[in-house]
């Protein structure tokens, strides 16, 4: 044997080392901060003694119960709205030859990757008190129903998050074996019966995964309710407000509220898992249905509906880009077009732009490296410890950004760990919040690469580490690129966690957009948003260009 005897012992150690290092890293950046939040919730703000009073207060005080109910309402509202838009769109594009399906899918992806607070504020521009549409409708003497408040939030969430339902359901619908539906027909089902008895149950796992994602993201979102909600309080807005008003003292109420959010998200995920149960149907790639041709009035109706949905969803993007080119004089639009907003942005906040890309780039590199290694450990070295790693990585999915930020502030505030106010704390929170997505992107590719390919390399004399780098990594590259692009997009658009962590020196574009919107500086907000949108759009292009899974790479 040509392999040195020492290599044999060393090689398992390499991956065990990675496993242990990953667990330590996740313990430090994820478990510890959340544990701090959890513990602090049971502490009296004054006496530092154990108490249940915070939770009793959250669960009995009308103010908090109201916010909890509101959160559930916008969560369910956003989820239902997303399903109402996403499922029909998925059905039409999967089952009928809709002209321009790729355009529809790309627009949906663009809507998906644009930050939700941009949606909120451009709906204010369109349908707010002084919005174009409001003024237009008012000119006919009709009072527009206000966009502010609960229905505005639900509208924004539905339009923002439906692509999750759409993309997941569409790919599930496409993968249904045609024979199932034919068998149902053969046994006497009409097309409608067939849809409800066979098709819908078969895509239910996909629909519910998409729906639950919409729910979790809706209840975690901070920017939308605070921009468009007016006095409508959700858990995430009051957690933020409580935290900022409790500055100096112990933020016990903020963390108790945070725990409520985690519990609600987790319950939703558990409920969905329970409902799906063992129902995971492997898609057969043989015998797939061919889309039916669309003709006549029905065809016109279907096309109108499909394009109307994606047009509404991408309207905020168009509005923001349009607004960014309007001439401004200070905060006021002075009529006509101009590059005024951009020159102001470049003069006034160049560091904000640089920060955003710098933080996002570092976080993306870290996510890509750690994500690649962790996914290898999770997929290829199945041990109880790697299973633990896999489960712990689920946590960031259900922890809202505000909560994670509070955890970070509680954890990294003293001694060697004093990171408050630094760029590092922002990079680290971007890293830990998006790491699971990076791991998922690479592990899904890795699962498709058969271990025998690596074994072949080893049998030809490569060491396992070398086999990994020479054979597996090159095969993973498309997935890694797609994952990195997704990490980058979410990192540059992150608001809910960075809003609690930034200082004047470490502000990012979303933070600056948020404050510009609150100050009514729509020109600056639009110019910065356009920069974010164009950057996200370029990343989307790269993914669509290089990823085999195309649109489904985004969900």
């Amino acid at each position: 044997m040509s392999t040195a005897p020492g290599m044999r012992c060393l090689v398992p150690d390499f991956w065990s080392g990675i496993l242990l290092a990953s667990l330590a890293l996740i313990g430090l950046l994820l478990v510890w901060p959340i544990a701090q939040v959890m513990v602090l919730g049971f502490m009296d703000a004054e006496t530092q003694q154990f108490t249940l009073a915070n939770y009793t207060k959250v669960l009995t005080h009308r103010y908090y119960i109201g916010a909890l109910l509101n959160t559930l309402i916008v969560g369910v509202g956003g989820m239902v709205g997303a399903c109402l838009l996403g499922i029909p769109l998925a059905y039409f594009t999967a089952r009928y030859a809709v002209t321009g399906r790729n355009v529809i899918a790309t627009l949906a992806v663009l809507a998906l990757v644009s930050p939700p607070f941009i949606g909120a504020y451009s709906w204010v521009i369109v349908a707010g008190n002084n919005g174009w549409l409001t003024q237009f409708v008012r000119s006919f003497g009709i009072a527009m129903p206000t966009i502010y408040g609960i229905h505005g939030i639900i509208l924004v969430f539905s339009l923002k998050f439906f692509p999750f339902v759409y993309l997941m359901t569409e790919s599930a619908l496409r993968n249904i074996n045609r024979s199932f539906e034919e068998a149902a027909e053969n046994l006497g089902c009409s097309p409608t019966e067939r849809f409800f008895k066979i098709t819908l149950p078969l895509v239910f796992p996909a629909i519910s995964s998409g729906a639950i994602l919409c729910f979790v993201l809706s209840i975690a979102d901070f920017g939308t309710p605070s921009i468009i909600g007016r006095d409508f309080r959700t858990l995430s807005t009051i957690a933020y407000n409580q935290y900022t008003s409790e500055m100096g003292g112990q933020p016990t109420m903020a963390v108790s509220i945070s725990m409520m959010m985690i519990v609600v998200s987790m319950l939703a995920v558990v409920l969905q898992r329970y409902m799906i149960g063992k129902r995971r149907y492997a898609g057969a790639l043989t015998n797939l249905a061919t889309p039916a041709a669309l003709r006549g009035a029905f065809g016109v109706l279907v096309h109108t509906l499909c394009y109307a949905i994606v047009a509404l969803a991408t309207l905020p993007i168009a509005v923001v880009i349009y607004t960014s080119f309007l001439q401004t004089n200070g905060p006021v639009f002075s009529g006509g077009f101009g590059l005024n907003s951009y020159s102001r942005v470049i003069q006034e906040v160049p560091d904000v732009i640089a920060n955003t890309f710098r933080f996002a780039l570092i976080a993306t590199v870290l996510i890509t490296l750690a994500g690649g290694l962790i996914s290898y450990v999770v997929v290829r070295r199945e041990t109880p410890l790697s299973g633990l790693l896999d489960s712990v990585l689920m946590v960031p999915y259900v922890v809202p950004g505000v909560v994670m930020a509070i955890g970070f502030l509680l954890t990294f505030n003293k001694g060697a760990f004093d990171l408050v106010g630094t760029g590092s704390i922002i990079v680290l929170i971007l890293f830990i919040r998006r790491l699971p997505y990076g791991v998922r992107a690479t592990s899904s590719v890795l699962r498709q690469i058969k271990p025998s390919i690596e074994e072949a390399a080893i049998s030809l004399g490569a060491s396992p580490v070398k086999a990994f780098w020479k054979v597996t990594v090159p095969l993973m590259v498309p997935g890694i690129i797609a994952g990195a692009m997704m990490s980058f997009i979410t990192a540059i658009n992150e608001l809910s966690s960075t809003l609690l962590l930034y200082t004047a020196r470490t502000a990012t574009m979303p933070v600056r957009i948020y404050s510009a919107v609150l100050d009514g500086e729509f020109g600056i907000a639009a110019a910065l948003s356009t920069i974010l949108l164009v950057s996200s759009g370029l990343c989307v292009y790269v993914v669509l260009r290089f990823s085999q899974s195309k649109e489904s790479a985004f969900v």
Binding site: N177, A183, E185, N186, G188
Partner: protein
């Protein structure tokens, strides 16, 4: 017992763009028969089956089950049972609910449904597994569910689209026997699609060989194998050596350079081919009648346990395949050794020119 019916396919035509998939198919399938559509992929057999099921609308022609025309009915109204190649057992429903599906659809009373489903599951030996979900079943068990689900509605015709092709060899043979047994027990008219000629011969009352959208021959398995009507049937069903007859002589032609007696229709026709089955080629045996005796060089020998396959090169005439009972002396033959081949004139069939050239008398 379900009532069973004769099926008549009347001048079915179907094209996809410029490609004609079915060219005026006309078939009479007797009540209670096991009728197999056999052919290579793309021959139209599956298209025909799907037209009968109602998944394809034919461009012209009609389908009659008994006296009833079903050619214009939607698939859900045809009342024909169908078993799918990929089982198509609904993955979200239990075995029981899968089998009950068609009965519930027909608004059969619940008590009746329960009784009939269990009875059918007992017949296919799956009663124990009624509560399972499909992913907990093996492929063979899933296909039994598919079979039970199609039979329990007591269809007038049972359609089967390569139901065994996704199963492994051993299971395929077992389930094949079970299907045949059930079919005979219920006396149900069955139309079965396969590309596996051995399966077709072993299971059917009648085999219909199709090629290029056209019926080449309908007949009993024996006739299909021993009396192929044209060159395609001879080449597709079973193995055959196709030889080019040499110059004609007074009462025959030359085969492998030797004169053999042949029917007068063969002589002087261009493009004629002669066919002889490998099992009719004798190796190192004394001649048993008029025919060819020729020497060749052994190029390849394969012992499969049940038989011995030999490839023998005859100088100037290419390779001849022979299939013999395994004789230990012959298993010991080495490549390059000379062997004696014998073919009886009576075992040679002649076909006119072309892929589907008819058999010459």
């Amino acid at each position: 017992m379900p009532t069973t019916s004769q099926v008549r396919i009347k001048n079915i035509r179907k094209s996809y763009g410029s490609h004609v998939a079915l060219k005026d198919i006309d078939l009479d399938i007797p009540a209670g028969a096991f009728f197999t559509l056999l052919g290579p992929s793309g021959c139209g057999k599956t298209t025909l089956l799907r037209a009968i099921a109602g998944f394809h609308q034919q461009d012209a022609g009609d389908i009659l089950v008994g006296e009833q025309s079903i050619g214009q009915l939607s698939a859900s109204k045809r009342n024909v049972g169908m078993v799918f190649q990929d089982y198509a057992v609904f993955p979200h429903l239990s075995v029981f609910d899968n089998v009950a599906f068609g009965l519930v659809q027909r608004k059969v009373a619940p008590e009746q449904v329960r009784q009939r489903v269990h009875e059918m599951l007992r017949t296919v030996q799956l009663d124990e597994l009624a509560g399972r979900l499909p992913h907990q079943l093996s492929g063979g068990q899933q296909q039994r569910v598919g079979l039970a689900r199609a039979m329990v509605i007591r269809p007038k015709v049972l359609l089967m689209d390569e139901p065994l092709s996704n199963l492994d060899a051993k299971l395929r043979v077992d389930l094949r026997r079970d299907i045949r047994q059930l079919q005979q027990e219920f006396g149900i008219t069955t139309i079965y699609v396969t590309h596996d000629q051995e399966e077709a011969l072993s299971i059917s009352d009648q085999v219909c060989v199709m090629y290029d959208g056209v019926v080449q021959q309908v007949g009993s398995p024996w006739d299909i194998y021993h009396r192929p009507l044209n060159r395609f049937v001879a080449s597709f069903v079973g193995a055959n050596n196709f030889l080019l007859p040499g110059a004609a002589h007074a009462d025959g032609v030359h085969l492998l350079g030797q004169p053999v007696p042949a029917p007068s229709a063969v002589r002087g026709q261009a493009g004629v081919s002669a066919a002889v089955r490998p099992e009719k080629v004798a190796v190192n045996q004394p001649p048993r009648g008029p025919g060819v005796q020729v020497q060749g060089v052994l190029r390849h020998a394969m012992f499969t346990g049940r038989e011995l396959q030999l490839s023998v090169e005859v100088a100037g005439h290419g390779t001849v395949e022979a299939l013999t009972a395994p004789d230990e002396a012959m298993v010991g033959l080495r490549n390059g050794q000379t062997v004696q081949l014998g073919i009886l004139a009576a075992d040679v069939l002649y076909f006119a020119a072309g892929d589907t050239g008819r058999r010459l008398p």
